[in-house]
Structures are given as structure tokens and as C-alpha cells.
């Protein structure tokens, strides 16, 4: 069954709820629709929008988290992305950055390229993170739970993973408008 039974929210609805709980934390957002949707929902200079290097969002976030240990660093990731850079779950778990929150929007498809299925319907990614050694791991299906768990994670020491099952709906969101070098400069200045 796809999407998972009981999954009602879209990624954009989930993302909007998360962004409402964030202020000036660095957020590294994976390539494809997630970056486009975040840009459309709320554009903040603390957002690092990726347009390539699929699978690298948590590794970039880890670098930021290690360089800025007093800032809570968030990454918005997808199931296809996590599967591509799965080794990074191990790296994060081994280094145990307390200031690292990994949000995974799991729609079980490669949405940006036309909804081809991933394998996250049979491989529970949050269990992989838990087994690797993430400190807090939650899997949520609805908006109330996601707000409750994300608020909780913001108060706890990480590394944490919040896996949100979402449906396949993608917002009508245009490409990332900023030039990549400007994204880098703006982000660096915002998290200085």
C-alpha cells in the first residue's frame, strides 16, 4: 500500500509545521522538491537549499554541526536521499553530535523524477538510524504527533531522527531562485 495507511499529510504540510517551530537554526535542505517547497513556504537566510549532490544533506549538516557546536543544526532529507547516503547514518551515530536533528520526509518515491518507488516501504529508515546509534528516533504519521515529537527533539540532546511518513503530493513550487554562490554566502553570514 502506498502511501502507508493512515498517512494523510503532504510533505509541504509537514514542512510548514516544522518551519513554524524554527527560528534562526541552520537548516540544510536536500535537493529536489524539498528545497523548492521550503523556499516557497518560508525563505530564510539560514536555509541552505541544495540543487544537486543528492544524498549529501546530512553530511553537510554534520559538517556545520561540528563547526558550530552551540547551534542546533537541522537537515530536511528524503527517503531516496537517505538511501543514497546511508553510510552517513553511521558517521552521524558514531560522532554523536548533540546538536543534530535529521528530519526525513518519507513518501516512498523519488518524487522529483516522477514518483518511481524507493525501497523505504520495506526498509524502515528510522530503525536503521536507531540501530546505527542515533540517540532519539521517532516515526510519525500525523501532524499532531510530528509537532509534539519535533518540539521534544528540539529540547533533547541528539543526534535525533524524526521520520515523517508523507503522501506523494508535491507543491507547485518553482526552482530555487538564488544562485548557488549566493546561497553559500547568505547562509554563511546568517549562521556566523
Amino acid at each position: 500500500m502506498r502511501p502507508e495507511q493512515g498517512t494523510l499529510i503532504s510533505r509541504a504540510q509537514a514542512m510548514a509545521a516544522l518551519l513554524e517551530l524554527l527560528t534562526d537554526q541552520p537548516v540544510i535542505i536536500c535537493n529536489g522538491f524539498p528545497s523548492r517547497e521550503a523556499q516557497k513556504l518560508v525563505d530564510r537566510p539560514t536555509h541552505f537549499y541544495m540543487i544537486g549532490s543528492m544524498g549529501s544533506a546530512p553530511a553537510i549538516a554534520l559538517g556545520v554541526a561540528l563547526a558550530k557546536p552551540h547551534k542546533q543544526v537541522i537537515t530536511f532529507d528524503g527517503d531516496g536521499n537517505v538511501l543514497m547516503g546511508m553510510g552517513t547514518l553511521a558517521t552521524v551515530a558514531a560522532l554523536k553530535p548533540k546538536n543534530f536533528i535529521h528530519v526525513v520526509f518519507d513518501n516512498e518515491v523519488y518524487g522529483t523524477t516522477g514518483n518511481q518507488p524507493t525501497i523505504s516501504n520495506v526498509v524502515p529508515l528510522e530503525k536503521v538510524a536507531k540501530a546505527a546509534g542515533y540517540t532519539n528516533v521517532e516515526r510519525v504519521l500525523d501532524l499532531d504527533d510530528l509537532v509534539y515529537e519535533f518540539k521534544d527533539m528540539l529540547k533533547k540532546d541528539g543526534p535525533s531522527m524524526l521520520l515523517i511518513k508523507v503522501n506523494e503530493f508535491a507543491e507547485d513550487a518553482g526552482r530555487v531562485v538564488l544562485d548557488p554562490p549566493d546561497i553559500t554566502k547568505r547562509f554563511m553570514k546568517a549562521i556566523e
Partner: protein
């Protein structure tokens, strides 16, 4: 032969303060020295190391990534679609396996094409020599600051002291 501690000290003197990577036997001495100094963050893949270095750079660090040249193959997309287009510099310290065709079979193709590969990607590179080391380091620092893209320093066999000299 350059001692590993002198090599690491030279990088630190340049301001490099974030080191990650995946090991190679030829880089063993350098990595051991970095671990002694508690400066090394191990990665599980070279492209992950490159991405981690990019994050560290944006967080205010000056990063270096150590890898065997096979890892350059693994890192191509990250170097192209992250570092080059976003203007995120890092220092790639790459052991040149397969140089001159004398190495295990898996190293021979990359050993032959590596300089041209980086030329094609427009990533500046230099090969470290003992006599020219001070110049080489100066060149890296200048290129890093000016171009804001990755620069590569190739390490050939016997130039930096390894774990088993």
C-alpha cells in the same frame, strides 16, 4: 622525505582546522599525526567527507579532505554539483596510487588519468615535492582563498613519511 608532523604543522600554520577523509596506506602517517592531535573526523566515503568539509567551511572552518585517488572517482558528483557550483573550497590531499603504472591493477587506470580528470573538472592541482614544499603550500593557500573552489595536492610515494617507512 617530509615528516608527517611537519606536513600537518604546515597545514595548521596555513589555517587548516578541519580534517576529514578516508584512509590510504600512503596517508597513514599523516592520519596518525592528525589523530594524535585530535584533529581528524573520519568519514565512511570520500563524497561524504567532501560534503562534511563543505558544511564545516560554511560553519567557519578551513577544511582538508584526505583520500586515495580512487576516492576522487567516488567524489566526482559532490565536487561538481556542490563545491564547484556553490563556491565551496576545500583542500584535497590525494595519494597518487598507480603513478607510472607501478601498482596493483585496480589503481592503474585512475593513476594514469587523474591529472587530466581534474583538468577536465577545472580543479587546480599540484604534486607535492620535498624541495618545493614551501612553494606548494603557498600556492594552495593562495588558490583556496582566491578561487573558492577545491584544490588538490597529490602525494606521491615516498614524499611524506608513512607509518612503515
Amino acid at each position: 622525505m617530509i615528516e608527517s608532523d611537519a606536513f600537518v604543522q604546515a597545514l595548521q600554520d596555513m589555517g587548516v582546522n578541519f580534517f576529514t577523509g578516508v584512509p590510504d596506506s600512503m596517508l597513514g602517517g599523516i592520519i596518525a599525526e592528525l589523530m594524535d592531535r585530535r584533529l581528524y573526523t573520519p568519514a565512511v566515503r570520500e563524497d561524504e567527507a567532501v560534503a562534511m568539509a563543505a558544511g564545516a567551511y560554511m560553519g567557519g572552518k578551513v577544511p582538508a579532505v584526505l583520500m586515495q585517488n580512487s576516492g576522487l572517482g567516488t567524489s566526482l558528483n559532490t565536487l561538481i554539483s556542490l563545491n564547484l557550483i556553490y563556491h565551496q573550497p576545500c583542500i584535497l590531499i590525494v595519494s597518487w596510487r598507480g603513478q607510472g603504472g607501478k601498482d596493483a591493477p585496480e589503481h592503474l587506470v585512475m593513476g594514469e588519468v587523474m591529472p587530466q580528470l581534474l583538468d577536465t573538472m577545472k580543479i587546480p592541482h599540484r604534486t607535492l615535492t620535498e624541495a618545493g614544499a614551501i612553494e606548494d603550500f603557498k600556492w594552495i593557500a593562495e588558490t583556496f582563498m582566491k578561487q573558492r573552489i577545491p584544490v588538490a595536492l597529490f602525494i606521491t610515494k615516498g614524499v611524506v613519511k608513512g607509518l612503515h617507512p
